[in-house]
């Protein structure tokens, strides 16, 4: 029985993802190391958040230093509706995500008129302003004491699978945003937003779409985080350091690639766990150094390194634009060449 799928979904990545998810899903049955289990859970939410950041920062080229604003709003909304309205966890995450997405639209829509560095600076302003206002806003966030959710036994353990689904969904969305026809439009917008409009790309709408997706996914991650720790406070949720972490994950992993930021998230979470144990003061500086190295020598970060090592340009990971696969029209031209130079 043949499944009708969109022509741009390639079988190999899809199967690869399914296998990886299956392995990760059954993995916990074979070990009882709770520490590793929880570390993986945190990695999953890190992957989802990093990928969400990358849709704006990598695909559209608008680097945000203030994404913690959406993360925090999502988290606190989710916590609030659980506490005050007794909503079930998943619904609270959805609500948190929705509000965060709308918030992203509110500040992002006018701000995206700015290009490049100015947008980035504005996002620092947005992130910090949100942090200050929300820290002050006691009734919403509980002020500096934060909010506590009732501890549920076993919740942390089962969040592993929720996290896995979240990360997998984010990966699928990453793939779709890049490989579908929308992906070409996003790249065109990244290159020249006005010229894109001139050839029929609804630039504003697409930018809004990415803003909303990115913001709402961040919000859901915030809700997840709240459920995981059962306690959140504004200084941490909205913190500049948190916003920075996704920039680092995205850029070091491979900004603009489909899965690079996921790799960056894995490295980040693992390194932080290791460094916090032995060299707590070092990790930001180390990342700073990595960032400098990446910018100077390998703009595509770890993904770029990987590609060089493998010596093949895999179109689905190169920034040079997606190859829109699909059956060639009958008697028409052959599909474009598989190999391309790395940009």
């Amino acid at each position: 029985m043949k499944l009708r799928v969109a022509p741009w979904i390639r079988p190999r990545p899809a199967i690869g993802l399914l296998i990886a998810c299956a392995l990760l899903a059954v993995g916990p049955l074979f070990h009882d190391d709770v520490y590793v289990h929880n570390l993986l859970t945190l990695t999953f939410v890190g992957i989802a958040a990093a990928l969400a950041w990358n849709w704006l920062g990598g695909y559209l080229g608008q680097v945000s230093f203030g994404h913690a604003a959406m993360f925090g709003i999502g988290g606190f909304i989710a916590a609030r509706v659980q506490l005050s309205l007794g909503m079930p966890m998943l619904i609270s995450w959805a609500v948190g995500g929705l509000v965060a997405g709308i918030f992203a639209l509110i500040w992002g829509h006018p701000t995206l008129r700015l290009r490049g560095p100015y947008f980035s600076i504005a996002t620092i302003g947005v992130g910090e302003a949100t942090r200050l206002v929300c820290t002050y806003w006691d009734s919403f966030t509980g002020g500096s004491s934060g909010l506590s959710l009732p501890m549920q036994s076993n919740l942390k353990y089962t969040l592993y699978w929720y996290g896995l689904v979240l990360a997998a969904l984010a990966l699928c969305a990453s793939y779709a945003l890049r490989r579908s026809p929308v992906g070409l439009s996003l790249l065109a917008i990244k290159s020249d937003v006005d010229a894109a409009s001139d050839v029929g790309v609804s630039s504003t709408r697409l930018q809004d779409l990415v803003l909303f997706l990115s913001g709402s996914t961040m919000g859901v991650c915030g809700g997840f985080y709240a459920s995981y720790f059962s306690y959140i406070e504004p200084g941490d949720m909205f913190g500049f350091d948190r916003s920075i972490s996704w920039v680092l994950m995205g850029v070091i992993g491979g900004i603009g690639t489909i899965a690079g930021p996921a790799l960056g998230a894995v490295i980040f979470v693992l390194l932080r766990q290791y460094l916090i144990a032995s060299y707590p003061q070092l990790y930001l500086g180390l990342y700073g150094l990595l960032l400098v190295m990446v910018i100077l020598f390998e703009p595509l970060g770890l993904t770029g390194l990987f590609l060089r090592v493998v010596h093949r340009a895999r179109p689905d990971l190169a920034v040079g634009g997606p190859v829109i696969e699909g059956p060639a029209p009958a008697g028409g031209p052959p599909p474009p060449a598989e190999t391309r130079e790395l940009k």
Binding site: R115, P117, E128, V247, P299
Partner: protein
């Protein structure tokens, strides 16, 4: 009414500091078209440098101004030569240089953590607590001194840029770097020099600010944003424009205390920044900051 005068004077004095702080950022942007995200880091470094010299060696901060400025000038040139120079100039390099300098800021921050711990520090000199009465207002000697130094620096900058060859070369490069090579101006050297100068201004502003506000290694983000507000509002290039914009920012901040709790006044700067960027990207003096 008295309170009004107090606040007004406070704003004016603060504006001096903000002008110096912002000018470094504006200079680097105007000439190299790069947003120096390490600006906050250098402000913090200057603060710590002054604090350390005072704390460990008993050097008065106003005396250490010159050595700190000189060393940070050198640091700026080093950063330019080693790192920034390797990036493509212009639009292509925009976000990249942003991220590069951001990485540098992270490293500087971490270095400060390692050397000085994350605790708040203040630079208290023996005369810091003295105050002068000007009319009905009581102003700390410190603030007046900071203002005085800031004004002196700005005047010196203005003279440098208008009266000296180097200054004119800098302005020429800011306008049209390509033509400058045609007339024999060493553009790369000017770039390095400007970056050094901008860095030095940031560090000096940090040192001055250290005597007014407590600071820690995370210091710098809001200063960066305030500098940006001033640069965007005041346009690039004119000291006068920067001064006026700095005054506006200082006035808004100081008088905002009347309306919102002190805790939130920092947010005022951020909101102002976003608003100015979005609503009036041409600044007050008509210069476009949009890319």
């Amino acid at each position: 009414m008295e309170r009004f005068a107090d606040l007004l004077i406070a704003a004016v004095l603060l504006a001096g500091l903000y002008s110096t702080m912002a000018y470094g950022l504006g200079l680097i942007y105007g000439v190299l078209r790069i947003v120096n995200l390490n600006h906050g880091g250098m402000i913090m470094a200057g603060a710590y440098a002054g604090w350390y010299l005072h704390h460990a060696l008993g050097v008065d901060p106003y005396v250490s101004l010159l050595p700190v400025a000189a060393v940070s000038f050198g640091v700026g040139i080093l950063v330019y030569r080693l790192l920034v120079r390797r990036l493509p100039r212009g639009a292509a390099g925009g976000v990249q240089s942003l991220l590069l300098l951001f990485g540098v800021w992270l490293m500087v921050r971490n270095a400060a953590y390692l050397m000085f711990t994350g605790n708040d520090q203040t630079l208290r000199t023996s005369y810091a607590t003295r105050a002068l009465s000007v009319g009905s207002a009581l102003i700390s000697v410190n603030r007046i001194a900071v203002f005085g130094v800031a004004v002196a620096i700005l005047i010196a900058l203005h003279l440098l840029l208008t009266r000296t060859y180097v200054g004119k070369a800098i302005r020429a490069v800011a306008q049209n770097a390509d033509s400058c090579t045609l007339v024999g101006i060493p553009v790369e050297r000017i770039y390095a020099l400007t970056f050094g100068l901008g860095t030095a201004l940031a560090a000096v502003a940090g040192l001055l600010g250290a005597s007014l506000f407590p600071f820690n290694p995370s210091f710098g983000a809001s200063e960066l944003l305030k500098s940006f507000v001033v640069v965007v509002l005041g346009g690039l290039g004119s000291v006068a424009g920067t001064a006026v914009a700095a005054l506006i920012l200082a006035l808004v901040e100081v008088f905002a205390i009347l309306v919102i709790p002190a805790y939130l006044t920092a947010a005022v700067g951020f909101v102002l920044l976003v608003l100015v960027l979005v609503v009036r990207p041409g600044g007050l003096f008509g210069q476009r900051v949009l890319g």
